[in-house]
């Protein structure tokens, strides 16, 4: 019998879910999940939060091992893919072997953007960290020792979450952000200001609108000793974390001649320019019906939902990906939950009181609710997602701002 094969490249949230979802949807063929890192897909969000605080941290699996074995999913662990051959419909693996496929799912994720260092450098500084995978987190965890100076470059989620953890571990933390405010790509000034104040109140030094002009090395050249800023200030440091964005892993796709432009271009069914090849999660760039433009998202919900979309297409019951993006971030005792993309908003309405550390910000554009940030109001977030999904009109703005009005009455 000639059995069909689907190969999934990448064992993150997207890859793992695609494998299970394919089988759940009735796929009868062979499913091979290629995980370049050792082991089964694990939870990445805790790596910048609980993992750093745990006395003996362990990676937690996204799904128990039994789920994969029961679903008869072959796991190729610790093996990378070197090339995709579209003519022969095969991949070449790092151990030299070849595997044929009928459908291929690329779920290669993204990698941290590297800090620009003076050229030429012989080796990566020993105290420079990035945070993407379990190995990074284990290394960073080892470096977060009490009383050390931690310099965080970049005031995005990774930087702020690690700052929160490091502060409670007793480090002296400084965050430098090139933009005028933290979280500037993802939230409104009101929410940025709130988080800036929270971090400062916790004892973190926060410098915004600053550029690094020089990275100064230790005398033996192996570690970063300090950085000099545009205004001439020098910040000494023991540990450096760069959280300055992520770059989609598109190398394999590009070499195979697939269309790539800030991510592997896919249609609403997560199909690339080769319809037998799908791309899902951080590495893919999809058309958003809600925002009328192409977007690339770095989030667990996007990874998991796109995995399901690709699996449904392969199983012959295609459904377009039309979800409104949503995200979450834990800092200190605060839970930040976001839905929608707020870029281009022309009106913002606040529900609750930032001073009580519990509020929501609603963003409108052209009289339509396009996004919301929700700080420590988890019981309302489900309803807020529905309101954004429904494109609630600005006529509800006054009611949204009134905490005595139940959100479900506005739907």
């Amino acid at each position: 019998m000639n059995m069909e094969t689907t190969i999934i490249i990448g064992g993150g949230h997207a890859g793992g879910e695609a494998a299970l979802s394919l089988r759940q949807g009735g796929y009868a063929g062979r499913i091979v999940l290629i995980c370049e890192e050792h082991g089964l897909p694990y939870q990445r969000p805790p790596l910048s939060k609980a993992f750093l605080l745990a006395p003996e941290p362990e990676a937690s699996l996204i799904r128990p091992a039994a789920n994969f074995s029961k679903a008869d999913i072959e796991i190729a662990s610790g093996i990378g893919v070197q090339t995709i051959d579209r003519q022969a419909r095969s991949v070449t693996l790092s151990d030299g072997s070849r595997l044929s496929w009928d459908h291929l799912i690329i779920a290669t994720g993204s990698r941290p953007r590297q800090l620009a260092l003076p050229d030429p450098i012989t080796a990566q500084p020993t105290n420079l960290h990035y945070l993407r995978n379990l190995t990074d987190a284990q290394r960073l965890k080892g470096a977060l020792q009490p009383d050390k100076k931690l310099l965080i470059i970049g005031g995005g989620y990774i930087g702020l979450e690690v700052a929160s953890a490091a502060q409670s571990l007793g480090l002296q933390v400084t965050i430098i952000e090139a933009q005028e405010r933290i979280l500037s790509r993802v939230t409104a000034p009101e929410v940025s200001a709130f988080y800036q104040q929270v971090h400062q109140a916790a004892g973190i030094q926060m410098l915004t609108g600053v550029q690094i002009t020089t990275v100064n090395f230790s005398s033996d050249g192996t570690a970063i000793r300090s950085v000099t800023l545009q205004n001439g200030d020098e910040l000494p440091t023991d540990v450096v974390l760069a959280g300055i964005g992520a770059i989609p892993e598109t190398g394999l796709a590009e070499s195979a001649g697939l269309e790539v432009d800030n991510g592997i271009l896919v249609n609403e069914f997560c199909q690339t320019s080769d319809p037998a090849i799908y791309a899902i999660g951080d590495c893919s760039n999809h058309p958003s019906k809600a925002y009328q433009r192409r977007i690339r998202l770095e989030s667990v919900p996007n990874a998991v939902e796109q995995a399901r979309v690709a699996a449904q297409s392969i199983n012959g019951s295609p459904k377009p990906y039309e979800s409104i993006p949503w995200f979450w971030s834990d800092q200190y005792d605060l839970k930040l939950q976001m839905v929608g993309l707020s870029q281009g908003y022309d009106q913002v309405v606040i529900r609750g009181n930032p001073e009580e550390r519990s509020f929501a910000a609603f963003y409108f554009a052209n009289d339509k609710l396009i996004a919301a940030d929700c700080v420590s109001r988890p019981s309302e977030f489900g309803m807020i997602r529905k309101l954004v999904q429904a494109g609630t009109t600005a006529s509800s703005a006054a009611a949204l701002a009134n905490i005595d009005v139940a959100l479900k009455d506005l739907l």
Binding site: A66, P301, V304, W328
Partner: protein, 55 residues
């Protein structure tokens, strides 16, 4: 008693334990968890949970 897992962050709702912090008593079956309840970990909706068999 069953367990239900969040589709996104893998948080587990265990019917035998409930979520006393949120006023959901131990032994509360999934059907009786309020429809507007959301995942305490990531904020996913109740409909984003699936029943799981745990080892």
């Amino acid at each position: 008693m069953k367990k239900w897992q969040c589709f996104f962050c893998a948080f587990i709702y265990d019917e035998s334990l409930g979520l006393p912090d949120e006023g959901i008593a131990p032994g509360t079956p999934w059907e009786e968890v309020p429809e507007d309840w959301s995942c305490p970990e990531c904020g996913a909706a109740k409909e984003d949970f699936a029943m799981v068999e745990m080892d």
